[in-house]
Structures are given as C-alpha cells and as structure tokens.
Amino acid sequence: MVTVAEKMRAKQALTGAEAVAHAMRQIEPHVVAAYPITPQTPIVEYFAQFVADGLVKTEMIPVESEHSAMSAVVGAAASGARAMTATSANGLALMHEVVYITASMRLPVVMPVVNRALSGPINIHCDHSDSMAERDSGWIQLYAENNQEAYELTILAVRLAESEEVRLPVMVCLDGFILSHGVEPVEIYPDDQVKNFVGEAKPYYPLLDTSHPVTYGPIDLYDYYFEHKRQQIEGMKGAKRLFPAIAQEFEKAFGKRYDFVERYRTDDADCVIVALGSTNSTIKYAVDWMREEGQKVGLLKLWTFRPFPKEEIRKALDGKKAVVVLDRAASFGAEAPLYEAVKSSLYNAAHRPAMGSYIYGLGGRDIRPEDIRKAADNALKGELNADEQMYLGLRE
C-alpha cells in the first residue's frame, strides 16, 4: 500500500488550499477550530477528511462562527495545545477583536488567511483588504507568491510563532482563488521531515496544568496596559531578529531559502516594482519581458509584511532611479498601505528614488503584464508623482 507520504514525494498538481491542508496535516495540530468561508473552505474540507480518515489525531471543532473559531483556538492554545484555524475576508473581520486578543495573550497560533476582499459590496475574490485590516493586530504576516510558498510558509510559521523570543501568532496569506483554487506543481516534503522541523509544541503557562494555576486575560488599568503592549512590540522585534535564523534552518531541512524580501533582477535596475502575494509571479514575467527589450526593471517582493522589513527595503531601493509600489488594497483617505510603508522606509535613504503608488486588483480585478508594464513605463519615463494615486485595471 502506498502511503500518503510516498505519494506526495514527487511534485503534485495541487491547489493552494490542498497544499496548505497538507501542511496542516503534517504539522498535526492538537486542535483545529474552523468555520467555512469562500475561498478558504477547501482547506477546512480537506483537513476534515484527513481527520475523518484518521490520518491525523487532531480534534476538530466545527464552530458556529469565525469569532468562535478564534475564541476556541485561544482556549486551546492557552491550555497548552497547538491550535490552528483558517479564514478569509469577513470571517477575519468577524474575529477581529479575538485576533488582537490572541496576539496580546502571546499565543503561538498559525492561521492561513486566504485573501479575499472585505464587504461591501460582498465580493468573494482576491484582494488584500482583509489582512491589511489586521496589520495593527500584533500578528506576524507572511505573504505567499505561489502554492509551494503557501505550503512552506505554513510550516515555517509554526517555528517562528513558538520561538521563545517571539511567542506571537502568525497569519500566512495566500491569494484567494488565484492560489487557493489555482492548480500548481507543489512538492510535499516527507511527513517525518516536517514533523522534525516543527518539533514538539512548547506550551507557556498552560491552563491545563492545574498544579500551576494561571490567570489569562485580566483587566489592565492605565497602570499596566502600556507595559503589556511594549512587550508585544518586543516580541515583534524578536521576530525580526530571529526570522533569518529560522529561514536558514528551513533551508537546511528543505532546500528553500526564505528571507524578508526577495530581490529579482534589482541589482542594476533603474525601476523597481514592489508587491505582495501572487501578483509577484506576473511581475516577474513582466520584468523578464521588459528586460528582453533592454529596459532595466526589477522586482522587490516582500515575504514579510509584519514585522515590516524597513532596513531591507531601504538597502534594496536606496539609490534606485524609480520605485513603483503595487497595492492590492486601499486605505481610504490616506495613501495605499504598502506604498505608505515603503515610502516611509526610504525617509533616511541617502538617495531617495522617485516613487509612484498603484492600486490594482481590488475585488479580484485581473492584473496583466501589460498593466504592470504601464507602471514601469511611467517610472522609466520619469513621469512618477509620489503624491498622486494611480490605478491599474480600473475603468476610469
């Protein structure tokens, strides 16, 4: 009989959802509490089948809402169990208060977020408004370019979350439908290799240890809240410090090297494009296309949005002629979130590049290489205006 592990050793054609479900299967958390929401649903469905078939011993709680999903995960994680959930868009919005609470309790939860536009109007397709709305929540945010990365980052996230210097929850973001439902070749690593990498859960102050009773979730008055928040900031600093070491360990185990950013043909680039998520694949294609024509374009892809890699961005972009930032989310009344953050990173740069902000792809609006070329062309022609909001693919 062929085991699941043996079947999976070669590259398989998998959707992002199935790949992430396999990561969860291999991590084998003690508890999963999840509520279905398009386009996250297949993750929960695959995992539920693994549970029903006894491939994992995980106790699965079919909660009645996302708010309860994160609440049950908090209860389980505080008890000393490894607990996971997954969601999208309005599900993430519904659990918003508990998302903050999870981070404040320093619970090392890992949650795949299948990026989908927040209502209204209701839209089931991809954009980053859902995870952008959680950027202040205290969660680490990792963005996957493709299904392989979604699978790998979920595994890496467990180690990052549970590290002593960190103890913060992690959301692994993968674009809705594009990655979650799109089929790509994915290599699933052997079960025991993944299990060795994630290791045993290290509970801190577990509730279930009744011989050392602890209180979780007290009320803070003005004399302690600030100090507790400062501790969370320190945890994020720990994540920034520790990520390279964990990425190095991941490379040793599986051969793939992660970092805060990926530089693609940026060394001699005149114009660098910055983006998050699956669009980076399209941008790489556009970069190659423009390079063939002699245009010096490059891509700076961000893997981590929280902690935000200020120094790495400054190092990569300082001295470049032009930078265009592509945002798949808007921040109404202000500059687009990724643009704002990148621009701010360049405040202390010796030679600040010209910059342009491009919002694209809201509600699943398709982004094509031609659209990306338009932004790069603006940059190369010196037409960028750092204060003007531009759009790609919008019917203006």
């Binding site: 309790m105 602890v214 209180t215």
Partner: protein, 96 residues
C-alpha cells in the same frame, strides 16, 4: 505593590501567582462591622456558607469568628444567622 516595568512582568498579561488577590485587604471598605457572639452561636455554618468574601473563620464546622482583613461589612452573615448571634455595629465604634 509598586508598579513594575515591562521587562519585570510575565508576557501576555498572564498572572502567574494564583490567588494573589489575598494581598488586597478589602476590610478597609467596611462601614459596618459584624460582631460575633460565641454564646448565642450554634455553628450552623450558614454565615460561612453565604459570606461573599469568605471572611468567616471556622475550624471543622466550628465557628471561630470573623476575618476582619477581608470583611466588607455587608451584613449577610447577620441577616442569615438563625440564632441572631451576629450584630452589625458602626465601624466608627472601632476606630483607634
């Protein structure tokens, strides 16, 4: 206790010293003080059962008295006592 700095407290807002509220003596809240009359008391344990602040002292079902460190002076003990063995007096009578 003096307020601690951010590096001096456990992360996550977790309180690791179980039951340390005992350091907070709520007896200072009192406006009325229960006075226990050992002669009338039958150690029925109703006052002990109902005290919201567990300020009734008893040993193996025998009433010992009131724990004035925590007694808030609500008077429930006096109210439920069938033997009228607890009388509520103004706290001002006991000011030193």
């Amino acid at each position: 206790m003096a307020a601690k700095r951010w590096k001096e407290i456990p992360i996550g807002g977790t309180i690791t010293e179980a039951g340390n509220a005992k350091e907070f003596k709520t007896g200072s809240w009192r406006v009325m003080r229960p006075i226990h009359d050992k002669n009338k008391c039958t150690s029925c344990m109703l006052c002990w059962l109902y005290c919201p602040d567990q300020a009734i002292l008893q040993t193996q079902g025998h009433m010992d008295g009131i724990n004035y460190d925590y007694c808030k002076g609500c008077g429930l003990c006096s109210s439920v006592c069938p033997a009228k063995a607890i009388e509520m007096k103004a706290e001002t009578e006991f000011l030193e």
